[in-house]
Each structure stands twice: as structure tokens, then as C-alpha cells.
């Protein structure tokens, strides 16, 4: 111990300073390593960030496509005076659409009286809406969930069907027709 102490004293000042610097750097690295193990998410966080970046890029791409579509009604079936969607556009529009306006919900309720009752009792309140692309069926599905107390009974009704018509406002798209029959 005494020998090593003496040999340290014999070292020149620049060497001592360099050794100190290396020591501090190692200490910093070790501190961050320990803190990262305790609080950090490491690879998991990087993976999440990558997924989020990909989602943002995909959303930008879809928004660009949506803004290029003509304003008005876009349909996936043969109709008059409406813009007929190609298979690719149908999928893209489905993936970019989040909104379901009231008339589409009222239309779907024609074939679901229980949903209509809860919807009316609750002052047209909707718990949840969804628009999803089904990769297996190659179709777009949309729907909504209503819940509430109907004549003393708590009920939840989910209405779902094929989204076949959309409205393009020039800024966004909305599901216009849910075929639930």
C-alpha cells in the first residue's frame, strides 16, 4: 500500500491529471449505466419511438392522399354522382378515417332498435366509435357503442357493419354509411 502511494506521488502532474480525467469519465459512465438499469427502458423505449415515428410517417402519407381526393361522397360501390373508390383508395381512406357523423349512426340504428332507444334516451351520446381495416376480409368496418339505463336496466349495445361510403371534406374523411344488414 505504502509502495503504491509512493509510486503515485512520483508520477508527473500531467499523468495524474489524465488519470483523474479517465477516472471521472468511467465514474460518469458507471453512474449512467446504473441509473439506466434502474429507471431507463433502453431497447424497449427505442422500439416504441420507432413505432411512433412510423405511425406519424404513415399518417402524413394518408393525410396527403386524403387531401388529394375530391370533396364530396366517396363510395366503394357503384353509385351515381359519387366518387367511386378503387380498392387501394378504399383501404387508405378507411385507415385515415376516424369520424362517424350523426346521420351515419342514425342510419345504422334503423336495423338496431335497442341501440336507437339507448342513443335517444341518452341525448344522442355515443360511448365509443371505431373504424378498422380488416386485413383478412379486405373490408372496412365501422361502428359505435352506446350504453345507458333503458327502463331500469343498464345496457350496452355495440353496432358494427361494413363502412361503404365516406364523406371527404377536403381536410378529413368521415364514415357516411355503415351497412349493418
Amino acid at each position: 500500500m505504502e509502495v503504491s502511494k509512493n509510486s503515485f506521488k512520483t508520477l508527473s502532474e500531467p499523468v495524474k491529471q489524465f488519470g483523474g480525467l479517465v477516472g471521472i469519465i468511467i465514474l460518469i459512465f458507471l453512474t449512467f449505466f446504473v441509473l439506466n438499469n434502474i429507471f431507463g427502458e433502453g431497447d424497449e423505449l427505442v422500439a416504441k419511438m420507432k413505432i411512433e415515428e412510423e405511425r406519424i410517417a404513415e399518417e402524413r402519407k394518408l393525410n396527403k392522399l386524403i387531401s388529394s381526393l375530391p370533396s364530396g361522397v366517396l363510395v366503394s360501390f357503384d353509385g351515381t354522382d359519387n366518387f367511386k373508390l378503387s380498392d387501394e383508395l378504399y383501404e387508405a381512406v378507411c385507415k385515415a378515417t376516424k369520424l362517424i357523423p350523426q346521420r351515419a349512426i342514425m342510419g345504422a340504428n334503423f336495423l338496431n332498435f335497442r341501440a336507437h332507444e339507448i342513443y335517444t334516451i341518452n341525448g344522442n351520446k355515443i360511448d365509443e366509435t371505431f373504424v378498422k381495416w380488416d386485413d383478412e376480409k379486405n373490408k372496412c368496418f365501422a361502428g359505435f357503442v352506446v350504453s345507458g339505463n333503458n327502463v331500469g336496466v343498464d345496457e350496452t349495445v355495440k353496432v358494427s357493419g361494413e363502412a361503404l361510403s365516406f364523406l371527404s371534406t377536403g381536410i378529413d374523411t368521415r364514415v357516411y354509411f355503415i351497412k349493418n344488414f
Binding site: 361522397v73 357523423p101 350523426q102 342510419g107 334503423f110 364523406l167 357516411y176 354509411f177 351497412k179
Partner: protein, 125 residues
């Protein structure tokens, strides 16, 4: 800041005026008689009115493609009528309180049909 508030208020006023001009009774008599009413979401009703209610024969067209042609009572689809769905499917028959109630025929856009008694929009097997 004042300019921004003025701009927002002015825009709201112009929007309200424009909406007021494009909605309401656009043709005829929407109190008692025959008239055309346009709603804020562009739904239109053209037909007979009694005491400011849709009553008698009329056509209601929704902006998303649903069209009902037939009888109205107390502003609701009541009586004999036909509903055209946006994809070309139709229901022709009896209606009560805005729903398929009674005898009627549902025809899908591919031509398939279901004929019989309906209750609140459901086919009675």
C-alpha cells in the same frame, strides 16, 4: 389581441348569417301546406306540413344517401313508405314511429328479398 377577438366575432357572425340563409323553409309553406325545409346538416324534407309538422306525403333526403318517400305523421315516418339505403337496398312497406313496423319487403342491392312482418326494424321470423 383586439384585432384577433374582432376577427373571431366577425367570422362567427358571418358564419351564422350564412347558415341562417341556407337553412329553414326554402320553398313554399312549411307551416300548413306544401314546402321544402333544409336542415343545418343538409338533410331536406319536401312535402306536406300541418301545424309546422311534417304530416302527409313527403320526401326526406339525408346527406349520406338515405331517402324516405312516403307518409309522415307528427314529423315521423308513419304509414306506407319506401326507404332507399345509400348502397341501393330498399325497404318498402309499413312504418310506425320512424321504424319498419308492419308488412314490408326488404330488398338488398344484389336483388335478394325478405318479405313479411317487421317490428321496430327487425324481421319477425
Amino acid at each position: 389581441m383586439k384585432k384577433l377577438i374582432f376577427f373571431i366575432l366577425f367570422s362567427s357572425l358571418i358564419t351564422s348569417l350564412a347558415l341562417a340563409r341556407s337553412t329553414g323553409c326554402k320553398e313554399g309553406n312549411c307551416d300548413n301546406g306544401y314546402g321544402k325545409w333544409v336542415y343545418t346538416d343538409k338533410t331536406t324534407y319536401e312535402g306536406e306540413w300541418v301545424a309546422t309538422k311534417k304530416h302527409g306525403q313527403g320526401t326526406e333526403t339525408w346527406p349520406n344517401g338515405y331517402i324516405y318517400k312516403g307518409e309522415f305523421k307528427e314529423s315521423q315516418w308513419n304509414g306506407i313508405g319506401i326507404l332507399f339505403f345509400p348502397d341501393g337496398s330498399t325497404y318498402e312497406g309499413e312504418w310506425a314511429d320512424g321504424f319498419m313496423n308492419g308488412e314490408g319487403t326488404f330488398t338488398w342491392s344484389d336483388g335478394n328479398q325478405k318479405k313479411g312482418i317487421w317490428k321496430n326494424g327487425s324481421f319477425q321470423e
